[in-house]
Structures are given as structure tokens and as C-alpha cells.
Symmetry: C2
Subunit: 215 residues, 2 copies
Amino acid sequence: MRRVEPSVLPFGRPRGERADAARNREHLLLVAREMIAEDGVEKVTMDGLAERAGLGKGTVFRRFGTRAGIFAALVDDAERALQESVMGGPPPLGPGADPVRRMIAYGRARIAFLRDHHAVVRASLDRNRPVFAGVAGMSTLHIGMLLEQIRREGRADFTDIAALTIQLTAALEGPFLLYLGATASMPEHSPDFESGPSLGDSWQDLVERVCAPTA
Amino acid sequence: MRRVEPSVLPFGRPRGERADAARNREHLLLVAREMIAEDGVEKVTMDGLAERAGLGKGTVFRRFGTRAGIFAALVDDAERALQESVMGGPPPLGPGADPVRRMIAYGRARIAFLRDHHAVVRASLDRNRPVFAGVAGMSTLHIGMLLEQIRREGRADFTDIAALTIQLTAALEGPFLLYLGATASMPEHSPDFESGPSLGDSWQDLVERVCAPTA
DNA sequence: AGCATAAGCGGACTTTACCCCGCTTATATT
DNA sequence: AATATAAGCGGGGTAAAGTCCGCTTATGCT
């Protein structure tokens, strides 16, 4: 592996992280991706990963804290592109468009993301960690922001924005986070998810109704 | 050779169940309730439960299949009352009332139920089992039925009832199923859930908007 | 370069869900 | 009442997550 940072400033990582630790993290992530590609998510065990990476089990846990942590790191990585599109890309996903349109566009993009990564996303769920602050954190933040904006523009008057934010986030992510186990692939086993567009279309319908001007 | 068909015997236990097995099941449930009351859900282990009940570990698994199964049985039991109110009780929860009002009433009742039982409900989640067919099955069925009725009465035209059913179910149950780990008690750790009525009020708001007559 | 030290590392150990399978017993039939 | 048999039972066995702690090593300082 070649050096990525010719400049001397060690600013990319949290100050304390050693070079070997960073290298090991990358390596573990790489090996994890391989194992997932070969045998699927549920075949990735901490011992197996450690052995195949030529490292000790303790190291794996030190780096990722928990099994879910590995997948969370993977998801985090994959999410980056969407995150950047939302924060700085062109409308309607990025800033500048009408907030309702942005919400629709975001939902559709997020649904596509979840559909593409559902196995890893589900595996990243940590039983003792709030999902809305973890995996769904981006959705919660963004949806909340857009609702706030809609209200500020006087286009609708919501009873409780915080509660509605959570409910909409759940409506968006819930179908993927709650529907199936990590094992089975979603589309095959559930007719409700077969039709690609329907969940996205339904999200659009939902958002348009919820954000319609109060009669 | 006569094979006993375990399919449809509408009441009681699956026909083949022996008396001692039934007795053991009840006893295990009882002991589980005690252990939960004393030390909380996560302290209930299969070995601990078996030992305290004076039974073998294998028996516990035979009865409930999985750890989650125990809690699922407990939830199922607790759910019965709500289920009966919904199917045969007085309006607006029971049949006869306007479907939108019924949906609002159902959501409020379900929220109260989930709030009261969130620890056990969360523990009843099985990683490899569709939530919408398990814990949230009642909600999925009922919400779907009401949406269907609303559409049939020509009061609103939904893009995709199946998808919307899942999304609304997720909006209703998601906050409880996804928010916190089984350990922490929800209200204390999350300001969003502190205000008792707000989630219910927000549900009402959501339902009224979604089911509003199309302009 | 040499040193001090905090970060990293490894792998044995513990805990717990879940499996297996030979033995026991309730129950229906005669 | 005796019997056949399917259901139930028990508990030892396995696998995998997560913990611990003594050893190793990168790194910053002098």
C-alpha cells in the first residue's frame, strides 16, 4: 500500500491514533468486504475476520468495539457520497430546491441506498444503541431540518416537529430496518418490496400529503 | 398412520400439545415474569430461567424456540386485551366508528401499549424474523384494513396501499422499536419521548394529513 | 540515537444462545 | 390394564461475542 499523504500534517485522524492502528483498520475493513462478498454478512465472525486478517481478536474489538461496529464503519464509508450530494450537490437533492421536493428526492435516494446496502446496514444495527442517532442519524437530521424550514416558511403547521421527524424517519427507514432478518435477501422474500419504485412513490405520496398546505 | 394436522384449530393450543408441556409453558412464563420484575429483561438467560423453573435447558428451547420467543409469548399475552378491544370493543377503537378516527384511536392505544411494555417488546424482536409479521403484525393488519376501507369509501386515493401500510406501521412502532436498546428505559434517556402525549398527538396529526380528502 | 510511555496487540477466558440425541412419559387404543 | 408411540425432557456440547491483562512497539522528546 502506498503513502497517501505526502504532507506531514497528521490531521486526518484523531490525534492519538497510531499509524499501525490506522493501517490495521483499513486492512480489516478490506478483509471484511472480501468476506462479505464471498460468503455474505452473517458468515463474518470476529474470530474469522481476525484470523484471515492475520491479527488477534482483541485487535478487532479494539478497533470496532463490537461486531456491529465493523458494519457501521462500512456503511459510514458508503454513505459519504450521498451525504455530500445532500449537503453540497445540485438540487433537488442538494440545497436550493423547494424543501418538499428535497424531502422527496432525499427519500428516494435513501431508499435506493438502503436497498443496495440492506444486508450491511442491518448488520450494523446495535441492539443497545439508538438507531435514530446511529444508522438513521443522517435521515433524522435532514428530515428535521427540512420540516423546520417548511414550518418557518409558513407552509404547514405541525403539532410536534421532533415527534414527526422521528415518525417520518421511521416511515422511511423502517421498512428496511424492520422487515427482514440480516440473512434473507429482501426483494425475493417480500412481495411488498419487489416493485422497485413503489416504496419511493409511496414516500412521495406520504410527504406530499403530510406537507400539504393546511386547508 | 394418522398424521395430526397442526394447521387450523382456532382455539386453544396446537392439538398435539401434552398436558405436562402446557403446564411447563405456563410455569416458564410465570417464572420469566418474576425474573423480569426482579432484575429486568436482559438478566433473563435461558440457563437461568431453566434452572429457576426446575427444568432442563432443552425444554425451554423446545417450548419457545429462541430467547426472543419467550418474550414474544409474553407480549402476545399482554396484547390480547388490546386485540379484543380493537376487534369487538366499543368505538372509536372497535368497529363502527369512522376509519380515520379508528386509526387515530388505535395508534394512541398502541403507543400506550408499547410505552408500557417496551422492554419486553424489544426483547421479543428476533433478528431473523420480519417484524411486520411478528410484533407489529397486529398493526400492519389493522392499518392496512382501515386504509383499504378509506379508499373504498372514496375518501382518499393512495398511491400504493401495501407500501403505505408498512410506512405507517413503521411510523407508529418505529420510535419504540428502533429508538433505544433493550437496557435503558426509554423515557429517561430520550427527551423526545418524555412528553407523554406528544407522540400520540403527532400520530393523530400525521394520520389526519395522510387521510385528508384529496384537494 | 536512546528513552519513556502510552497506545496497540494477542489470545486465553467467560458467558450465553442454541443444537443434539438418547432416555422418559403421557395418552390413545385395545 | 397393557402397550405402542409420539411428544416431551435433560443436560452436555458447540460456536461466537465480548473481556482481560501482560507483552510489544510506535512515537515524541531530549
